[in-house]
């Protein structure tokens, strides 16, 4: 077990935990956006930053990826941390002004109007959809393409993906609802990315619930084990 101090409280954590995990174990809340328990931490949104004491002065680190170390002294809500989160929220609002989750985040962080206007794109590049498609589903149908400000989530050639199985995990995991699912008379389209899938309809209520490719893929991977 590792001992560290978070917000003045002495805390014990398992070897290999991140600061975020150690904090959450003890009921200390740290906001996140690109973090998900089922996925490898990514460290891109920077919302989860915390202040770490170092010999060269305090430093901000992303708690989702920074390891809990013996003797570490961490502040999860200092002025330095709040200022950073406020800036992150302001920038996200400037880039995704109509995404409800971002609007709510901005309010929580005390951001009114962003001082710049960067784009109007519900996708905030947290990467959850891509990572889920790779790590959980294993389809690798989408990825992050291009670079920098032009970076976006896309299937190969920005057309569609033969690897997509229509499981809609990406739709589900997206924090801002940027991935749209269209279900028209049983034909399911995931955000213009995949060829249309014919979803099965529930015999009782008539709702469409599953594209047959998904269980087919599951059966295949289960058979391999």
């Amino acid at each position: 077990m590792i001992s560290l101090t978070i917000d003045g409280h002495k805390v014990e954590a398992l070897e290999g935990s991140s600061i975020l995990e150690a904090a959450r174990e003890h009921g200390i809340e740290i906001p996140t956006l690109c973090f998900h328990e089922a996925l490898e931490p990514y460290g891109s949104c920077r919302l989860c930053v915390v202040e770490l004491e170092t010999p060269r002065g305090p430093r901000l680190v992303a708690s989702c990826v920074y390891p809990a170390e013996e003797g570490a002294v961490v502040e999860t809500n200092s002025e330095m941390v709040q200022a950073s989160r406020r800036m992150t929220a302001e920038l996200l609002l400037a880039a995704a002004p109509h995404a409800k989750a971002i609007q709510e985040l901005a309010v929580r962080m005390g951001v009114q109007e962003p001082r710049v206007s960067l784009s109007d794109n519900d996708c905030i590049l947290c990467g959850l959809c891509v990572r889920a498609c790779a790590e959980i589903v294993g389809a690798n149908a989408i990825s992050l393409v291009h670079r920098g400000f032009s970076k976006e989530v896309s299937p190969p050639f920005e057309i569609g993906s033969n690897a997509c199985i229509g499981c809609t995990t990406c739709v589900f995991i997206c924090p801002t609802g940027a991935i749209k699912l269209e279900d028209v008379l049983g034909t399911r389209s995931v955000h213009d990315w995949a060829s249309d899938f014919q979803a099965r309809a529930c015999k009782i209520c008539g709702d469409h619930y599953l594209a047959p490719e998904f269980p087919a893929e599951l059966n295949e991977s289960l058979a391999e084990e």
Partner: protein, 617 residues
């Protein structure tokens, strides 16, 4: 060529090579680095070979094709050995005369010698050229003497002696101790003690370890590493092999940007030759130690100079940096302990092992040992590569070595560290250069790119240029860098277009500070530096742009006007004829006029006017 398998074998071979060479044999050393090649040095060297051949002198006189000599402003550079006569701007047409007059008769050709602009005196010998005199060329010492594609040249000059000593007379821990003791700090920019890093990697758990040479050299304006690799690739390899021995790695990679084709080629040849001679591969020098090196060309991404992005690239992924810890020394390439060092760092290692840490630690300052190579570029008379001991001042580099500013203009500032660094105004040029002093000034050592800005450089536009660069090169993974630098760029662009607003400077400072603290990797963490340092030292320029809608350096197009001085204009009509916007009018021999509505400020008239009559304000 039989593989060398013992220390004695190496020394015997070296002696046999030295014996075969005549140190007094007249030869001409022609710089064939990338810069001089553009000037036509390959044709010059061909001309020398032909001329000597046709005169039947090709046996008694030699021609050596070398790497970059460093005095790039004066290329093609030609040095005659052993006399040391130095000729600059040599053309194909000069070759027969050089052979006949200087090589055969020993006479000096005045028009080809270097004239020191400070004294107006002709300087005949390389050793007397001020550009070289004030330097301490240790890492670049052989660049004017050896053919980089011929390993024998390197061996003649004591090459691979350090490797022999390290592998056959020292234990790995002793090698690390020596490097720690020398005080060598990483030359890539961060200045982390190299020996300490090596030790961390050696102590890391695992049998499989890697060595990487970071030859990505992405800072625009920096070409020190290119010249080391073009001119003396074996020294880099030797350093890497010694490092691999010390750390316990058996595979190394040189990650080199693809924009350096000559360096890639010379490195490739060097690796082949080193393998042939037994300095790479199995059982090196009979020590039982195996080590191989592979070249991995970059694919055009500045961010891949960052060590974790570099490793991602080798792993066939996109160049997205990873959070640290874990540090590469513990978990790097494919999760294995990896030691990454810059080209110049590796090149220092054989010197340290050969001559000793004591010798090395005497050079430089208290905390920064050894020499540093700078590429001095921009508005400077003597553009080129300068190697000085740590502690030299910017004044010495810019004036004593660099020859000052063209046109007799004032030097406004110097930018060090590329897009990660800050500018230093002339008021601080007497500060001795070392890692700490530069950081205190708001700049950094960086990889060595030193861009000189004269009085006509607009520092706001300069900062905007760097932010534009960062935006092009950001990997886009984290919010502060991807979106924050975009925001900073938008504000800077507005300011340079005359649309700055009150509060812009404060916003840039606040945002810049946050981006530095919150970004995932070094690129984002240092991206605001050029902006923050120009605001620190040149705030008045920012204020002039924002409050007065004026660019004091007359550079930002929307804020300047072109006009013709009627006193000076002779009405020759050159500008009128060439103006792409047809904005100039006037009768022959009468002063001409620029129509501001039509003027696109392209600068053609300014370039063409022989009477200095075009005014920009």
């Amino acid at each position: 060529m039989e593989t060398i398998r013992t220390a004695e074998g190496l020394e015997e071979y070296r002696e046999s090579l030295v014996a075969r060479r005549e140190p007094d044999k007249p030869r001409v050393s022609v710089c064939c680095g990338t810069g001089c090649r553009v000037y036509g040095s390959m044709k010059v060297i061909d001309a020398f070979r032909k001329e000597l051949g046709s005169r039947g002198l090709d046996q008694e006189m030699g021609v050596v094709s070398t790497g970059c000599h460093g005095f790039c402003e004066k290329g093609p550079v030609v040095v005659l050995k052993p006399s040391g006569v130095f000729y600059q701007r040599v053309g194909v047409e000069d070759v027969p005369e050089i052979v006949a007059e200087t090589m055969v008769n020993g006479a000096v050709i005045d028009r080809l010698t270097y004239t020191d602009p400070a004294t107006d005196k002709k300087i005949v010998y390389e050793r007397d050229v001020p550009f070289y005199q004030k330097q301490k060329r240790l890492v670049l010492d052989l660049n004017g003497d050896i053919d980089p594609t011929n390993i024998e040249d390197y061996i003649v000059f004591n090459g691979y002696a350090a490797l022999s000593k390290a592998l056959l007379q020292m234990k790995p821990e002793e090698v690390i101790e020596e490097v720690v003791h020398s005080g060598l700090r990483g030359r890539g920019g961060a200045g982390f003690p190299a020996g300490v890093k090596w030790r961390l990697c050696r102590e890391a758990k695992g049998d499989v370890k890697y060595i990487i040479c970071n030859a990505d050299e992405g800072d625009p304006g920096a070409y020190m590493d290119r010249s080391i690799m073009e001119g003396n690739p074996h020294r880099v390899l030797e350093g890497m092999i010694i490092g691999a021995w010390a750390i316990g790695a058996h595979q190394g990679y040189v990650y080199i940007r693809n924009e350096y084709p000559l360096a890639v080629e010379n490195l490739r040849i060097a690796i082949e030759q080193a393998e042939e001679y037994g300095f790479l591969g199995h059982n090196i020098l009979g020590s039982g130690f195996d080590f191989s090196i592979q070249i991995r060309p970059g694919s055009g991404a500045f961010v891949c100079g960052e060590e974790t992005a570099l490793m991602a690239s080798i792993e066939d992924r996109i160049g997205e940096p990873r959070p640290r810890p874990p540090y590469p020394a513990v978990s790097g390439l494919w999760g294995k302990p990896t030691n990454i060092n810059n080209v110049e760092t590796w090149a220092n290692v054989p010197l340290i092992i050969d001559r000793g840490a004591e010798w090395y630690s005497v050079i430089g300052t208290d905390k920064s040992k050894g020499t540093k190579i700078f590429s001095v570029v921009g508005n400077i008379n003597n553009t080129g590569l300068v190697e000085v001991p740590m502690g030299a001042t910017l004044w010495e580099i810019i004036y004593d070595i660099g020859g000052g500013i063209p046109g007799g203009k004032e030097c406004k500032a110097v930018q060090l560290g590329g897009p990660s660094g800050g500018c230093i105004p002339s008021a601080h040029f007497d500060v001795p250069i070392d890692y700490e002093s530069l950081q205190e000034l708001g700049s950094m050592m960086g990889s060595g790119g030193m861009v000189v800005c004269d009085e006509n450089t607009c520092m706001v536009e300069f900062a905007r240029f760097f932010m534009d660069f960062v935006q092009q090169e950001s990997c886009g993974k984290c919010v502060p860098c991807r979106l924050g630098t975009r925001a900073m760029l938008e504000v800077l662009t507005r300011i340079t277009q005359g649309e700055g607003r009150e509060g812009d400077i404060e916003y840039l400072l606040e945002l810049g500070g946050q981006i530095k603290e919150s970004s995932l990797c070094g690129l984002g963490q240092t991206a605001p530096n050029p902006v923050l340092s120009t605001i620190r030292y040149f705030r008045d320029e920012y204020e002039a742009h924002i409050l007065d809608r004026c660019c004091p350096s007359h550079a930002c197009k929307p804020l300047i006007q072109y006009s013709i001085d009627v006193e000076k204009c002779t009405g020759c009509g050159r500008c009128l004829r060439k103006c792409p916007a047809e904005a100039i009018s006037g009768a022959k021999k009468e002063p001409h006029v620029i129509d501001r509505e039509k003027c696109i400020k392209c600068g053609t008239c300014l370039e063409l006017c022989k009477f200095d009559a075009v005014v920009v304000e």
